[in-house]
């Protein structure tokens, strides 16, 4: 019963969030300076030409009427057609989604596999005086260097010198998995630098926080080995902030993928949306942002469920006494 209440509550609030996002994005794309007509027809078009184009796409109607039409179509699963390529947006997004998803999954995997052990290790090995300066510098650098700078640098270095990995080309996963991985590894690496740094730092802070807990002192006092203490008492208790972070970062990485896909010329969702924004392709931008919002919402529900499973005090069913 309680679980049902929780799920229906979450579904309602998710729907409300999506609706809010759809209003915002619908308004935002129309508020961008340089409308669709100007972008397509160029600076020398006459007002009559612009008006005719706008009428053809229904852009002359009041915004709320346009919104109503669009919302009704979206609710029916129809995201409309790209105003530039005349292709259905839904199908195009679906075809490009696997590339972005692969990129994100690789980057998240790298953050978990490298960031978490790095954080645990630096926390457990930390000395009371000094130390950790190198780690802080590295993670600070990893957090603050933007993806387009690092990405451009990597593209330059790998295209200028033959280092064994190609940039600027892409092979579908289904055709040749090994070649696909070879083309994805650099963009995934660039994308993951940020999340590895944040994950390592958050893990370190979380573990440091758990290390001072009395139950860790108690375990040390029982003569448990450091490895046993990390495995049994630290990992799970430090996991809550890290899982929360990785969840939000996953959604955030989709945003980072925009830039990385663009820099590395990968035909993913990100580059599609970047191009669409440049050309004021309203239908594509709206669908893309709605998709991103949907991913955020799903990730947040997943985080809540996972955190509840990790820490019995925070669960959906918490409060029930034994």
């Amino acid at each position: 019963m309680r679980l049902l209440m929780w799920w229906s509550g979450r579904a309602l609030s998710s729907a409300a969030t999506l609706l809010g996002v759809s209003v915002l994005i619908f308004a935002a794309v129309r508020l961008m300076p340089g409308g669709f007509a100007e972008t397509v027809l160029g600076p020398f078009a006459t007002p009559e030409q612009k008006a005719e184009l706008a009428a053809r796409y229904g852009l002359d109607q009041p915004v709320f009427v346009q919104y109503g039409h669009w919302l009704a179509a979206v609710a029916g699963g129809d995201f409309g057609f790209s105003m530039i390529s005349r292709q259905p947006v839904g199908a195009e997004l679906l075809a490009r989604l696997p590339i972005t998803a692969e990129l994100t999954v690789l980057a998240v995997a790298a953050s978990v596999l490298l960031g978490v052990p790095l954080g645990v290790l630096t926390a457990v090995r930390a000395r009371p005086t000094g130390g950790g300066a190198a780690g802080r510098l590295l993670s600070g650098l990893g957090v603050s260097v933007p993806e387009f700078v690092l990405g451009s640098l990597v593209v330059f270095v790998f295209s200028r010198y033959a280092l064994g990995l190609q940039v600027g080309s892409w092979v579908p996963l289904t055709r040749d998995p090994a070649a696909n991985l070879a083309t994805m590894i650099l963009p995934a690496a660039v994308l993951s630098v940020f999340s590895i740094s944040v994950t390592a730092r958050t893990t370190r802070d979380a573990v440091m926080g758990v290390l001072v807990e009395p139950y860790v002192t108690a375990a040390v006092g029982r003569g448990e080995s450091p490895w046993s203490i990390v495995r049994h008492h630290i990992l799970r208790n430090a996991a809550t902030p890290v899982v929360t972070l990785i969840g939000t970062t996953t959604a955030y990485l989709l945003g980072g993928a925009l830039i990385v896909e663009h820099v590395f010329n990968l035909p993913g969702v990100g580059s599609y949306i970047v191009q669409a924004v440049g050309r004021r392709d309203y239908a594509v931008v709206q669908a893309g942002v709605l998709l991103a919002a949907g991913v955020f919402i799903v990730m947040n529900v997943l985080i809540d469920l996972l955190v509840g499973a990790i820490d019995p005090r925070l669960g959906v069913m918490a409060g029930r006494r034994a």
């Binding site: 457990v124 090995r125 930390a126 000395r127 009371p128 440091m208 290390l211 001072v212 807990e213 009395p214 139950y215 860790v216 002192t217 108690a218 375990a219 040390v220 006092g221 029982r222 003569g223 448990e224 080995s225 450091p226 203490i229 990390v230 049994h232 008492h233 799970r236 208790n237 990790i310 820490d311 019995p312 005090r313 006494r321 034994a322």
Partner: protein
């Protein structure tokens, strides 16, 4: 040879000195109560026994021998072995000292290893409800959680159990039961107890010997009845007179005047001198050496002179019902923030 031997132990935190040459002996099978105000170094002494001090703590001088092994000079693996085999700890915060994300049964099994009888060990601390095994620590009451912690600490039948105010966070009705469990189990296993406490009457009733701490030193130690009934150190006398639970009706409680010291380095003389009614010149400049008064070891220049002149109201006779925890005598100095315990040690 004593089981535990603390010799001239000096422990420093960044700016404060927690122990200023503490000395203590505990024999096999004996129970020793350590009493003193907050900030007197009780907890530091208890943690030092298992080298469980916060990372910021430094051993400046002295040594701790457990079963003849120098705790502070052992390599990590030998230290772990020593903790597993000889030592058990029970802490003040019962729920906090259990892993919040692990079921009680799993935590016990982790300690007992494969083939350990979890039910039996819970039964020994008088927890017979099998639901406890499936519960998480936050679902237990403080008294239940402390029994679980005791079961875990006593599962290996250690030679020495260090109990750092194990009942201070509990309701007064539960307090006696939990204390009973600890002392009964320890007596069965032949385990020595180092009982750190504010509760003078309880210590008087349960412990064989008492060590009184002040300013990071053990200023008086000896048989419990002697130390608390006929103190030989002016501080012990003052402490005993200020314990509310011990006072008979109509007897005025006398707070110890002044406040406990916060040391930043070695105390030049007797740390209690500024608050002591009997202090003379040399007390402020000369560190007192141990003297023997009756059956007590005392750190006081005037101990011999004051023999039989100090009085205290604490009688070792049982006091019923359970006593109330005495309030701290004076605002306690802020203890150094606990830092990360060294897991690698």
């Amino acid at each position: 040879m004593s089981l535990l031997s603390v010799r001239n132990l000096v422990i420093d935190y960044a700016r404060t000195r927690a122990l200023d040459g503490a000395g203590l002996e505990v024999a096999q099978g004996e129970s020793v109560g350590v009493v003193g105000e907050s900030g007197s170094g009780k907890s530091t002494l208890g943690s030092a026994v298992g080298r469980l001090l916060p990372r910021a703590a430094r051993r400046t001088e002295g040594e701790v021998l457990v079963a003849g092994e120098p705790v502070f000079d052992l390599p990590a693996a030998r230290l772990r072995h020593l903790r597993r085999k000889h030592l058990g700890f029970v802490f003040q915060d019962p729920i906090g000292s259990l892993d919040p994300t692990m079921r009680v049964g799993d935590q016990l099994r982790l300690v007992l290893g494969r083939g350990g009888d979890v039910r039996f060990h819970l039964g020994r601390v008088r927890l017979d409800d099998p639901r406890v095994l499936r519960a998480y620590p936050h679902q237990l009451s403080g008294g239940m959680a402390q029994r679980v912690a005791i079961a875990m600490a006593m599962a290996t039948s250690p030679d020495l159990l260090v109990a750092d105010e194990p009942t201070a966070a509990l309701d007064s009705q539960v307090r006696e039961e939990v204390s009973d469990v600890i002392f009964t189990l320890a007596a069965e296993a032949g385990t020595s107890i180092l009982w750190l406490s504010h509760d003078l009457p309880a210590v008087a009733r349960r412990c064989d010997r008492v060590a009184v701490m002040y300013g990071g030193r053990v200023v008086e130690s000896g048989p419990a009845a002697q130390v608390l009934g006929h103190p030989a150190h002016p501080y012990t006398a003052a402490l005993a007179r200020s314990a509310p639970a011990a006072a008979a009706h109509g007897v005025r409680l006398e707070p110890v005047p002044g406040r406990p010291p916060v040391l930043t380095g070695p105390s030049p003389g007797c740390a209690f001198a500024p608050r002591c009614a009997f202090a003379e010149d040399r007390c402020a400049h000369e560190r007192p050496a141990p003297v023997r008064v009756r059956e007590q070891d005392v750190l006081c220049h005037k101990a011999i002179e004051l023999e039989d002149r100090l009085t205290a109201p604490i009688e070792p006779a049982p006091i019923e019902p359970a006593p109330i925890e005495p309030a701290p005598i004076e605002p306690a100095p802020i203890e150094p923030a606990p830092n990360t315990t060294e897991v690698t040690a």
